[in-house]
């Protein structure tokens, strides 16, 4: 990946230098190898902190809402999955496509430091990526782990390695094939009884601390003011005072992004309590596919979403539970 990173820095520097773009959105190195943070680079000098490695899992597209309001063009590095969110944002007029220069970058699947630590490795000081192995150094010694075991959840159900939007690309190595298993977990839950499902979600959602990280990171949640922050919406709520609050928050959020959620998986990545929030959104995606025909939000930057279109012969609500395996 070093070569990819090097190429990215070169391109970013060139674009900044020749004035084609005013800024570049990418990742900046942190205190360790495994904590790069999203960042905006405005000068070539700042690029010395630019980094692109296995821990650059964050989806940068949402930052464009804010950044692209500034003068001049903005270049952004995008992984395949991020490009879906980007298209969706363009479709919803949140980002002006004309003002963005998309550099598609390759992705070999990103890593999850929490999963590494869950392997009993603690006091991690460094991580090295070697193909499908990951070498973790810690104050207590060195451990070699299989990459597949410590990848971000969203990468394990990767929906494709094709960028849906790009102006140029930096793809130096072949990317792994998509996983094609996105709906397995949803199907597993569907196969449970109502009681089991209720118990599952009750336990999961009870962990919720209403930090709003899932909402704030979500590229589909781009409202200027969320209904849950708006006292006049009738559903404003701040805390997890009751089990219902959690359900309300998560049901409404999932509904609001339904048909618009690209399944980028950021909600689950950022949840401090590791609630599998993507399984909520993914249920909507699965149902939309099943009821109204396959639809992938963000595949294009145009057209209506499944919830803003209809067919006369659509499934009746009363038939929702009649179908097999629904």
């Amino acid at each position: 990946m070093r070569d990819v990173e090097q190429k990215m820095i070169e391109r970013a520097a060139a674009l900044l230098q020749n004035g084609e773009v005013a800024r570049v959105v990418g990742w900046k190195k942190g205190e360790f190898y495994f904590d790069p943070a999203p960042a905006v680079f405005e000068t070539v000098d700042e690029l010395k902190d630019f980094v692109y490695n296995g821990f650059c899992g964050a989806n940068l597209s949402k930052y464009l809402i804010k950044v692209s309001k500034n003068e001049g063009k903005t270049a952004i590095f995008m992984k395949p999955c991020d490009s879906y969110s980007f298209n969706q944002l363009v479709k919803e007029h949140r980002v002006d496509r004309e003002k963005i220069y998309v550099i598609a970058v390759e992705c070999q699947g990103k890593l999850d430091i929490e999963k590494i630590k869950a392997n009993g490795v603690t006091a991690v000081t460094n991580v090295e990526e070697n193909g499908d192995k990951v070498t973790v150094s810690s104050l207590y010694g060195e451990t070699v782990l299989d990459k597949a075991d410590v990848m971000l959840g969203k990468c394990l159900t990767c929906k494709g390695k094709t960028h849906q939007a790009k102006d140029e690309d930096i793809i130096l190595h072949e990317m792994p094939a998509p996983a094609n298993n996105r709906f397995d977990e949803v199907a597993k839950l569907e196969a449970m009884t109502e009681d089991e499902r209720f118990a599952f979600w009750k336990e999961q959602l009870q962990k919720c601390i209403r930090c709003n990280a899932c909402r704030n990171v979500c590229p589909a949640c781009s409202c200027l003011k969320c209904v849950f922050d708006n006292p006049s919406s009738g559903v404003a709520a701040k805390a997890n005072d009751d089990r219902f609050e959690e359900q309300l928050f998560h049901v409404i959020r999932a509904f609001h992004v339904s048909g618009r959620c690209t399944d980028c998986g950021e909600c689950s990545r950022v949840c401090p309590q590791n609630i599998p929030l993507h399984l909520l959104n993914r249920k909507f995606i699965k149902d939309i596919d099943g009821f109204y025909g396959e639809y992938q939000a963000g595949e294009t930057a145009e057209g209506k979403t499944p919830l803003t279109s209809y067919k006369e012969e659509d499934l009746e609500v009363s038939d929702v539970f009649k179908g097999e395996g629904k």
């Binding site: 499902r197 979600w201 009751d242 359900q247 049901v251 149902d287 919830l307 006369e312």
Partner: protein
């Protein structure tokens, strides 16, 4: 918090019915003028079109202690606003499927198309829905316990 035993014979579910002004509300009126009875625990809220019903209203009803929520609108193709109920159909199909996915009893939610001429259907639907929800018992999964504190 009070625990009401489900299956209690005295249990009378609280049903919120959203009816579109042009078909179903008129259908309910016809049920009335035809003296077709249905239980008193069904209360109707008039909306211009079934597509006015926000999922938040449905959840609000459950939060506030409703035991069942039913939406009634014009038959697909007959919407006074041409396409409103087509959107309702998609929204509610997805919402109800989703609520069931979260473990909420699917029998608590329903969408029925009732035209202004279908007073008998309105009454039959309400009778059936009340019966179904009564058998199901009190809504415990999607209620806000704080609401019921004072009960």
């Amino acid at each position: 918090m009070q625990d009401v035993t489900t299956g209690n014979k005295e249990f009378k579910p609280n049903i919120v019915a959203f009816c579109c002004n042009w078909c179903s509300y008129a259908g309910a009126d016809l049920a009335g003028s035809s003296r077709l009875t249905y239980p008193a625990n069904v209360k109707i809220i008039r909306v211009p079109c079934s597509c006015r019903v926000n999922p938040m209203f449905v959840l609000k009803a459950f939060q506030q202690g409703a035991d069942g929520v039913i939406l009634c609108g014009c038959h697909p193709g007959d919407c006074h606003y041409v396409t409103g109920n087509y959107y309702t159909r998609r929204r509610m199909a997805l919402l109800f499927s989703f609520l069931n996915y979260m473990g909420i009893e699917k029998e608590r939610t329903r969408v029925e198309w009732v035209s202004a001429a279908e007073g008998a259907k309105f009454s039959a639907v309400m009778n059936d829905f009340v019966k179904t929800v009564t058998e199901l018992g009190e809504n415990k999964r999607l209620t806000d316990l704080r609401v019921k504190e004072g009960k």
